[in-house]
Amino acid sequence: MASTSRQVLGNLAGLGVLLAIWVVYAVYFSPTQGWTFFFQLTVNGIILGSIYALIALGYSLVYGILKLLNFAHGDVYMIGSFIGFGVLTLLGGPLSPAIPVALLVLCMFVAAMLGSGVLGLAIERFAYRPLRDAPRIAPLISALGVAFFLENSVLLLFGADYRNYDGYELISYNGIHLGGDAGVFVSYLGVLVISGALLLMVALIALVRWSRFGKAMRAVSFDREAAAMMGIDPDRVIAITFLVGSALGGAAGVMFGLVYSQIYYLIGFLAGLKGFTAAVVGGIGSIPGAMLGGLLVGLVESWAKGYLNGNVADLVVFGILIGVMLLRPSGLLGTPALQKV
């Protein structure tokens, strides 16, 4: 154990040094823009990162317990975002909400989390449970099928148009100005998203660490057969894990809709890839790792968008994924997997 935590500390120290160098470079030597630009990008990155972190948690939870990569998770997030939009439209739309805005936003989150959670349950039941003992490649292909089915069903039912959340119109255009009017702007919406994500993560950690179910979950993830012998029903635990992970994904979908306004049927694909990257960078299977990874991916993407351009940002994130996999295959906070024979 000691060597493991030393390695994690080493990873974190290395990461800290890299980040410090980058911050110093960006603030003092940045060729064109000043420090406000940098910190503005950083704030945007944190908002984006908390969304990625929620998606990454869904991947990580499922991977931790099943050693399975849930490709369809990105599309669960997309569906969550559409459910939130549906509730918003039903209750009057962003311009003339029928009920108080706070209640409306709460309704959107609850509906999206419930809907995505149930969808996650169904996906687990139909695409993964029959394949529990199949070769490892089978559930991956099945997941690919689910992702494709969900995307095209939404395309079929709702068309390819962008749907507009108008989150700023709904909540507020205002925000906090740090460092004067020319300084860094943090919108109230951003504050809402960050605090919402934090709240969900704290709830998740409490669930996993202190509840009976969390104990069962950790047991199943450690050794499914032994847990079954101790009277834990692994199928039930796995199903609930899918429910929880997908609900987080649904919440992330609503947050994305609120902050970035436009949603359409393909948003799940790239968001899923980046959420996965976040989970791997942090160390897949580790909950704090998923959060750290999400934050990092969000920050890097935001910086790359600001200093380079929007198209290159995806390539940069991809490069980070490859780099982490080559240098630290078990991620920043993950423990190297020992293969049992």
Binding site: Y63, K67, L68, L69, F71, A122, F126, A127, P130, L131, D133, A134, P135, R136, I137, A138, P139, L140, I141, S142, L144, G145, V146, A147, F148, F149, L150, E151, N152, S153, L155, L156, L157, F269, L270, L273, F276, T277, V280, N311, V312, D314, L315, F318, L321, I322, M325, L326, P329, Q339, V341
Partner: protein
């Protein structure tokens, strides 16, 4: 010692059990045997060596296209051949070596762009690129470049287990599309407009010039490519390397312990598959006289996977059959093809699905079919009496089925919203059917089928181009859950 009698194999006493012979295994075929005509055909087919199967099947699939019109050859024949080629390459990676390569389509694209760049003219962003290499050089270069690219991607992900490899390659495929679309600073790929000005296949060597210009010519050329690749892949799969691939697919750890260089084998398979995709890509670019980013997206990837999975990973005959089945249904479900063909295909598929669902009991099948027909007419009659709008819509280009559909399926006017609810309800019903067993299932099937027909006539038939992707997604899930070995694959026996 010398006068010990040899064991008598005719005497089935436990004392005489031969060492090294497992009766349960040796009788497996007899237990699995089926009677009747189906069984006889199956035995005949099973008795053929793999090369015999290929020799019989290849012309049977590809020759019937020749008398058809140029457009049909392009839409059906050419695409079947290209996807057969792609599937053969992917089969090496997924089927033989067991690596889930989701960036495969990028190699297809890379081959196409390489050919387009080397045998064509275009200019963008102040650069002009004019190369008019002969086809044999540019195709060869494309193939080699793809193989090298596969080598790089393979070796950068050599440490990765199945899932990680899948996601890295998926990201790679995505990165390729992003790059070709917009991220390229020198205008090599001409952004989202793609490369349009491409030479047809033009071979010239030793003073002999040969240009392939007609679709029929491309068909023959691709046919030759497929046969060549089939022979190579077949020989390869029987070779030392092929056996090593399969061994490392089944158990990498055991293979490593037996002295096989598992990492090198993986990279080899990766690179070999990439080379075949490059070949397919370069011919595709020439036949299409263009290479565009949207030709190499996720949808094409799903199509290739559908071919490989339906055909059966690891089986070469399966790749040809899978390509035919998938591409024919894909093109029939295109929005440019007459909708009635799509309808015929859809109902045929539905019938096959019901037959597969009740293959164990003819009685249940008969009950389900009769009650489905009755239920359809009953619902129609009730709707006519109490809800006239429900039957006053019109049939979308019905053809010879117009009458039947008009009397059996509800066709409301302005059915959009109803059709959406119907679609969601249909998903729920299908979910329920899978859960139920026995007569309960027979009870739920008729309403499901009636609802399916309703959704098809009111929603799906208007957007066949989207529907086909939905159906392929369902196909992948259903195949994985029920018959993961596909049509021609052999079921794996798990040895514990």
């Amino acid at each position: 010692m010398a006068d010990t009698p040899p064991p008598n194999p005719d005497q089935p006493t436990p004392a005489n059990t031969e060492i090294g012979v497992d009766r349960w295994v040796s009788e497996a075929d007899e237990r699995r045997d089926r009677g009747g005509l189906g069984g006889r055909i199956q035995r005949l087919w099973g008795g053929l060596p793999p090369s015999g199967k290929l020799a019989l099947l290849t012309p049977a699939i590809f020759l019937p296209f020749l008398p058809l019109s140029e457009a049909t050859i392009y839409n059906y024949g050419l695409f079947i051949l290209i996807y057969a080629l792609l599937a053969l390459g992917l089969n090496v990676v997924v089927g033989f070596a067991g690596l889930l390569d989701l960036g495969y389509v990028a190699f297809f694209g890379f081959g196409a762009y390489a050919y387009a760049f080397l045998s064509g003219t275009h200019h963008e962003k102040g650069h002009e690129y004019t190369h008019h290499w002969s086809a044999q050089y540019s195709i060869l270069t494309a193939v080699v470049l793809c193989a090298v690219l596969g080598l790089f991607l393979g070796s950068s992900s050599r440490r990765l287990l199945g899932d990680y490899l899948a996601i890295v390659t998926l990201f790679f495929g995505q990165a390729f599309v992003v790059f070709t679309n917009s991220a390229d600073p020198y205008g090599i790929t001409n952004g989202s407009n793609g490369l349009g000005n491409i030479d047809p296949l033009h071979f010239s060597a030793f003073g002999v010039h040969l240009t392939v210009s007609s679709t029929r010519g491309y068909y023959w050329f691709l046919f030759g490519c497929v046969v060549l690749v089939l022979i190579i892949v077949h020989l390869l799969s029987e070779s030392r390397t092929g056996r090593a691939w399969k061994a490392s697919r089944e158990d990498p750890l055991a293979a490593e312990l037996m002295g096989m260089p598992v990492n090198r084998l993986k990279i080899m398979a990766f690179s070999f598959g990439a080379a075949i995709a490059g070949l397919a890509g370069s011919v595709f670019a020439a036949a299409q006289t263009g290479a565009f980013p949207q030709n190499f997206g996720t949808q094409v990837l799903i199509l290739i996977y559908a071919v490989v999975i339906l055909g059966g990973t690891g089986s070469l005959t399966g790749m040809l059959a899978g390509a035919t089945a998938i591409i024919v249904s894909f093109q029939v479900l295109d929005s440019t093809s007459p909708p009635n063909n799509a309808r015929t295909l859809f109902y045929l598929g539905l019938i096959v699905g019901v037959a597969a669902l009740f293959r164990k009991s003819r009685l249940k099948m008969a009950v389900a079919v009769v009650s489905t027909i009755a239920l359809g007419f009953a619902v129609h009659a009730i709707a006519e009496a109490v809800w006239p709008r429900g039957t006053s819509g019109s049939v979308t280009s019905g053809g010879y089925l117009t009458g039947a559909i008009k009397d059996w399926v509800l066709l409301p006017t302005h059915a959009n919203r109803l059709a959406i609810y119907g679609y969601l309800a249909l998903i729920v019903l299908v979910v329920v059917i899978v859960q139920l067993k026995g007569w309960w299932r027979v009870a739920v099937v008729p309403p499901t089928l009636v609802l399916t027909a309703f959704v098809w006539e009111n929603l799906l038939i208007q957007q066949p181009a989207v529907t086909r992707y939905v159906l392929f997604g369902v196909l992948l899930i259903a195949l994985m859950a029920t018959r993961p070995q596909g049509l021609f694959g052999t079921a794996k026996v798990e040895i514990v």
